[in-house]
């Protein structure tokens, strides 16, 4: 596919949607900081130019926490350089992105152990100890 790169095609397009998105994140962070609720932004629903998603990632940067959840394929959870802003990428078993979100929260819900899973775990542990 390297020959494709030699075709001079410019893609430095701007929809102008990056700035408003960053402002939305700023407002969401302020809300969170003052004890308000978290916010989730669906990245796949925004009209973005090919390079703009990368620009968002670059602007947000990477922070201290990086986690991977393996459930129905990998989900990458990355705290950005702005604490409280998380980039969540859901992939399927074929490693294809199925959904992308920016979550403004103290901890993404998906990282918490879920009640149903804890209950199932207790059952399994008890079974283990019984045998």
């Amino acid at each position: 596919m390297s020959s494709l790169d030699t075709i001079p095609v410019a893609t430095e397009v701007a929809t102008g949607n990056v700035e408003p998105l960053l402002h939305e994140i700023r407002h969401a962070l302020k809300r969170l900081a003052s004890g308000g609720e978290g916010t989730t932004i669906d990245l796949t629903r925004l009209p973005l130019a090919p390079s703009e998603e990368e620009r968002i990632e670059e602007t947000l940067g990477t922070g201290e926490v990086r986690a991977q959840v393996d459930a129905l394929g990998p989900t990458l959870i990355q705290e950005t350089s702005y604490p409280g802003v998380w980039l969540i990428t859901h992939k399927n078993v074929d490693d294809v992105v199925v959904a992308r979100f920016i979550e403004v929260t103290r901890i993404p819900e998906l990282l918490r152990s879920q009640q149903a899973d804890i209950d199932a775990g207790i059952d399994r542990l008890e079974d283990e100890l019984r045998n």
Binding site: V13, I41, T44, P47, L72, T75, A99
Partner: protein
């Protein structure tokens, strides 16, 4: 998945954790174009959802819609949705054929009376029903029979939704859309040639989640996906505002990714989700690949002038016709001049 089981139990037995289920719900909500805040609601509904029976009828079509669906870019979500529904008849995908397959369809219709979802792709030839038959049954008869006891109909693709290509002038087979035949059932038009796979699964997911018909636009299309036109969500829109247009497919403007309006892009009059949901695992959509939108999700898109003539160019006819009008005007002018001269002469005579 047994029929009496709900989706939550089914997934748990498949070894899918609650986390996995939440992820599935997030992706499904995103797929249905619901706001992320609706995930909890989706999770609650899906956990107790019953599996709906689906009967898929393919009429005068090219199988492009089924191809689109089976190449859905969210295979996990899609396959889960497909596991979750009971696809009881799809003659392109199923192994069985002929009278046996038709008997299975009739059995499924009987068993799920009033509850099954009928998916139709392709138009129905009513000019001469013999143009398209399955096991000797005309499309018209099969549609009427299968629609009788269904809960709702999903018309997949522009052919089923609006008549599509077979309906294009001069429409040799007398092709019509589903909605022109069935009047007493809710019909959801998922148009597009083909429709975006995520939109097909999104509609099925809506049934699965809420067991109801999604909100529709004036053409019977789910508003969540067809609520906005391509132009409004197009990443090349800023070029339109700036007046930067590609004039040919290989000029500087085309290389720089400028607006394709002048090359006939129908984005401003086309309602679909291509610009955001995109195609081929989210890689792009026609405009991103450098070709204008042809308006495939709109009725009669094939007969709206050329794909490469701008919307505002219109279909005003030929220059010869305009010259003809000038000739008619000239003739009228000569006529009225003669009449005026006569009148004046008469007036002069009376004065004298």
């Amino acid at each position: 998945m047994p029929k009496d089981q709900n989706l939550g139990e089914y997934l748990r037995l498949q070894g899918v954790s609650r986390r996995g289920f939440l992820k599935f719900c997030s992706a499904t909500a995103s797929l249905m174009a619901l706001p992320p805040s609706a995930v909890a609601q989706v999770a609650e509904a899906l956990a107790t959802a019953r599996r709906p029976s689906v009967i898929w009828l393919s009429f005068q079509e090219c199988t492009g819609c089924t191809e689109s669906l089976t190449r859905s870019h969210a295979p996990t979500v899609e396959s889960l949705i497909f596991d979750a529904i009971s696809l009881d008849y799809h003659h392109t995908l199923q192994a069985a054929a002929g009278h046996g397959a038709e008997a299975a369809r009739e059995a499924a219709q009987e068993e799920n009376k009033g509850e099954y979802i009928l998916v139709v792709d392709g138009s129905i030839p009513v000019g001469n029903p013999a143009y398209s038959t399955i096991a000797g049954i005309s499309n018209l008869d099969m549609l009427k029979n299968a629609a009788q006891d269904c809960f709702a109909i999903v018309a997949v693709g522009t052919c089923a939704a609006f008549g599509g290509l077979p309906n294009a002038n001069p429409n040799p087979t007398g092709a019509v859309s589903v909605s022109e035949i069935i009047k007493d059932k809710p019909i959801i038009n998922v148009s597009g040639c083909p429709p975006i796979p995520a939109v097909i699964t999104g509609v099925l997911a809506h049934f699965l989640t809420f067991g109801s018909i999604p909100e529709l636009d004036s053409l019977g299309r789910p508003a969540a996906f067809f609520g906005q036109n391509i132009h409004d969500r197009c990443y090349r829109r800023p070029f339109y505002e700036r007046g930067q247009f590609a004039a040919t497919f290989d000029d500087e403007g085309a290389r720089k990714g400028w607006c394709l309006y002048k090359l006939g892009c129908k984005g401003p009059t086309t309602y679909n989700a291509c610009a955001t949901v995109k195609w081929n695992q989210g890689t792009g959509f026609p405009i991103q690949a450098g070709h204008g939108c042809i308006g495939c999700s709109e009725p009669n898109f094939w007969d709206k002038g050329g794909f490469y003539s701008p919307i505002s160019a219109g279909m005003w006819g030929t220059r010869e016709q305009l010259l003809g009008a000038a000739a008619v005007g000239a003739a009228l002018g000569v006529g009225s001049a003669i009449a005026a001269r006569r009148r004046q002469k008469k007036a002069q005579e009376t004065v004298l």
